[in-house]
């Protein structure tokens, strides 16, 4: 499965705490026209470099699925930001 939600809690100072749950499906939908263009470019590249386009598509999808569980946490002083893909 591709990542479905990006969780972004932001702690700023003592009292300010914001936690965002960003559903990624609308983002995928918004980006889908770009994805079609990107796939056309990749198809041309696959033909030029003699790479099986289905294998390339599978590898790209695997890369997207593998992003699930990725997490970055940055803390500086009292400010803390965490980005987590689930």
């Amino acid at each position: 499965m591709t990542p479905q939600v990006a969780t972004v809690p932001v702690h700023s100072g003592r009292d300010r705490r914001v936690r965002l749950w960003i559903p990624l499906l609308p983002i995928y939908l918004v980006l889908s026209p770009l994805l079609v263009l990107l796939m056309l470019v990749l198809l041309v590249a696959c033909v030029v470099y003699r790479v099986n386009p289905f294998r390339a598509l599978g590898a790209g999808a695997h890369l997207l699925w593998a992003l699930r569980g990725f997490q970055v946490q940055i803390k500086q002083g009292r400010t803390e930001v965490l980005v987590k893909l689930t």
């Binding site: 695997h62 890369l63 593998a66 569980g69 990725f70 997490q71 970055v72 803390k75 500086q76 002083g77």
Partner: protein, 139 residues
């Protein structure tokens, strides 16, 4: 001699099974004894994430970066790299060798990645300086 092997030999002596059947049973018994602990250990040790922790202390203020990268990304990256044409891989090899990193990317095969990931479980890199610590490990 363990109990199960003894039972097989007793069955052979009593004529309940043939010599071929006894041999097959003993071979199966040895396989199960050899494989079970190793498989269990491999399953237990296979890490899922690469962790990079950076702690910095500068002028009384502490900064921390904590990155968790799924090792599935490594698998996906190797699968993607297997699509790169050999001529491009040779060029990359030349550049890596020129930079002092003699790695042959053409030898990096998806079927070898599981062994690599399994051995990453034992990896732990710690770099300590006066103002910063870096710790890279797998979990």
């Amino acid at each position: 001699m363990n109990e199960q092997r003894k039972q097989i030999l007793e069955m052979l002596a009593e004529g309940k099974i043939t010599a071929d059947e006894a041999e097959r049973l003993i071979a199966a018994l040895e396989r199960s004894v050899d494989e079970s602990p190793a498989e269990g250990e491999a399953r237990r040790k296979a890490p899922k994430y690469l962790r990079v922790l950076v702690d910095e202390r500068a002028e009384g203020e502490q900064a921390r970066v904590n990155v968790r990268i799924p090792l599935q990304l490594l698998r996906a990256g190797v699968r993607l790299a297997s699509l790169i044409p050999p001529s491009a891989l040779n060029q990359a090899n030349d550049q890596l060798a020129r930079s002092g990193v003699p790695i042959d990317l053409t030898q990096l095969k998806p079927e070898h990645i599981e062994d690599l990931i399994e051995h990453l479980a034992d990896m732990s890199i710690e770099v300590e300086e006066a103002t910063a610590n870096v710790h890279v490990f797998c979990e």
